[in-house]
Symmetry: C2
Subunit: 370 residues, 2 copies
Amino acid sequence: MADTISFSRGAPSADIVDIEGLKQAAIEAFEQDPAGVAGYGTSIGYVPLRRWIAEKHGVPEDHVLVTNGSMQADAFLFDELVAAGDAVVTERPTYDRTLLGLKERGADVHLIGLQEDGIDVDELRAALEGGLRPKLAHVIPNFQNPGGSTLSLEKRRALLALAAEHSFVIFEDDPYVDVRFTGESLPRMLELQPGGQAATDGPVVYACSFSKTVCPGVRVGYLVGPPALIAKIARRATNTYIAPSQVAQAIVHRFVSGDRFPTALQTVKDALAERSSTLADALRTHLPEATFVQPEGGYFLWVSLPEGEGHDCARIADEAAARGVQIVKGTDFLLEGGESAFRLAYSAVTADKVDEGVRRLAEAVAAAKA
Amino acid sequence: MADTISFSRGAPSADIVDIEGLKQAAIEAFEQDPAGVAGYGTSIGYVPLRRWIAEKHGVPEDHVLVTNGSMQADAFLFDELVAAGDAVVTERPTYDRTLLGLKERGADVHLIGLQEDGIDVDELRAALEGGLRPKLAHVIPNFQNPGGSTLSLEKRRALLALAAEHSFVIFEDDPYVDVRFTGESLPRMLELQPGGQAATDGPVVYACSFSKTVCPGVRVGYLVGPPALIAKIARRATNTYIAPSQVAQAIVHRFVSGDRFPTALQTVKDALAERSSTLADALRTHLPEATFVQPEGGYFLWVSLPEGEGHDCARIADEAAARGVQIVKGTDFLLEGGESAFRLAYSAVTADKVDEGVRRLAEAVAAAKA
């Protein structure tokens, strides 16, 4: 069999990570702050990185908690806010690990449809008017995983109005925001909320990550939110691991503060733009019956095949695997449905491999149907 | 007030960390395994470090899980094994964060007395014969925190016999084992259990850390245990943070595999030996009524003042703080009692400061009693 081409994992290929820059950042971290790097630190994270993040978002430092990856931040937030039986809203489809984390905590998960401009606010409003009382709504506003869509400004405002009216937390889960490769950036709901990003009692808790802008192996993510909630989560973090990796966070701090970072980030965005458009072209050529939202950033294309034609993503994934192509089946991102859909991650597939991967995938779709 | 002298935190001072060696290890990690360092990895930990640990302990790799510090490993283990209402045995006194973690999970914690040669096995046996049915017994076998004592070989064997008879897990929590500075090393209970360290269904789960041998800021620890249990905890870790910091673990791997590590570790042990004996001498001089176990390794001295003389560790801690000396009061390490005791960590106090610190502490003891 030919080389495996993996559209399955949302991760960058190693060729677009600035390894030399990270090595220089590590040298600087050990040379310039030996005691800070070597010591335990505290659960709020490496202090200079926390300060950098606070400045980036225009908030006081006590609004920020830096964690071992943003999924760890999600887990702490869910542990703090979501008890068994609590209603929680997510998008439909959404990140499989978010669904799993909520189900494990016994949450009553309500999936609200995702449209080309983000979550279906009308459907959410109707559910709320019908009596749904969620503790929080989890929303991935930019280049959604797996859908690829971006929440419009109008809908960001509408969501905030609904949160105010029905007293739920908006968990703005935004790991892809800084890898936008086309189109205009939209303001965060964190910024649009009453009082702005530094509001001390706003409805928005914001999560972001350095996995997409620096590299996943550092495992550094963070939360921005109301100081009282951040303090509670910091206590939870202390009781879990004392402090996150000071070494990893110091390296991230030196890297993102340094001269090389803008160029390194542009390299990532250029590669993602090329991979994304090559993938869209290949789908139009080899799988013309597929529909998808062409994303303006991020890692993912959500591919839908026509309903009612007997497509089965599990069979397609198996047939694709037999041809050396890995995909993730649509059903993984939903509680029900998704059989005629799958997610393609283009983040790790170099542009010269994309066409061949989609050619094999089209064969797999045909074979799965036969 | 003179400079603060802190006997409170169990952490090394920066002067005994081999920063230059860590910097070199970071350079090697980024140069020699860029894809491994930059990528997500998986929840089992950085593969070459996991292999190094497996070889150190003489177990197959699937017995090992590498985590973001060993306290994170403890948390996963408790989440896996301890439900609300479950009986759990710990030493009396024991590490305050262990007590807190167990109480937070609603465990029914039974503290069994600590003697100069470790946990009081007779007291434990009597409790078991009286009907106690613990899910696990948490034991810190070497240079216990806070007690400073080491579990004798005879008691290690007796504990294993009790675990076999009463079907409980022994959680051998051993972060200090590699900073022994005098006396003979004793075999781990992991090794003494039926089938030895590589037993697939033994009663022992073993935890260790690189915080004491490399530095705390890396936040790297690990578990060794039955593969079926390790696999369950690995799934839990995947669902919490995908993977631990590959960057931090790769740096640890290069450092402990490298030429400088034996010398760096000897530097740590020599400093701890000097600080420990200087502290014991100072206590004998300035606070002759105090009793303590002189440890053969680790970070801590547990100081007991005579009972029935009205000592109150909270007042002593306050009076000490007023004199620029920080200690941790004995009551923090117990569910009840401990008022006439406190813990002194010598790990971060350079030998030239020890005598002055104890002189002020003796004043504080006198002032608190007056």
